[in-house]
Symmetry: C2
Subunit: 119 residues, 2 copies
């Protein structure tokens, strides 16, 4: 199974999923699966959010809070949950409001080791 | 009930809570309640994390994703969940690993309108 198939499988299994991406912490996308097109440019939003990962990591390191594992941002139109899978890469799922956040977190958790082994 | 009492009540009701703060989006703390002292300087970490709120807001506005409602950061040693209660202020709870994240989110949700009315 390639990266794209893993990302697509997450979207298919999670109610309300808009997109799933494998991203570098530097903001460069490795691969993405987008479910249809909505009002928000989700791919562009996810690239912009990568800065949050870098900022959170710096803040946590400065204060001895350890490495970042997960990040979640809820706005009026998009829920986003990201999980670090290696020091340089993370997976992220964007959901419509009311999407199944718990399922997205679970799927990221179980898929992370599979993608990690393929990086 | 003053701000401090609300923040303290959240900590007392949530397993694993380390601290609860009312913060300005500009990073200036309004009031805090800290439960004991741990390995991590949680108050300093929360101030540092305020930058994430500002960055997430900018990213969401740029891409038409609407206002930020909630932000969550999990590191190895601290889980942090923040909820915007007005355009300028948010509440944030820091938890030890294994702390009750669902309860923290629920308590922020129900306490937010009470604090908002007192701002």
């Amino acid at each position: 199974m390639g990266f794209r198939e893993h990302l697509q499988a997450i979207c298919k299994s999670c109610e309300g999923a808009l997109a799933c991406s494998l991203m570098g912490v530097d903001g460069i996308e490795v691969d993405s699966h987008v479910e249809g097109s909505g009002e928000v440019d989700v791919k562009a939003l996810l690239v912009e959010y990568s800065g949050l990962f870098r900022n959170a990591r710096e803040a946590a390191e400065t204060h001895g809070a350890g490495g970042i594992a997960e990040l979640f941002v809820e706005t009026e139109k998009v829920l986003t949950v990201a999980r670090l899978i290696s020091p340089e890469y993370y997976m992220v799922v964007a959901l419509a409001p009311g999407g199944n956040l718990g399922k997205a977190r679970y799927l990221l958790r179980v898929t992370a080791p599979r993608l990690r082994s393929e990086l």
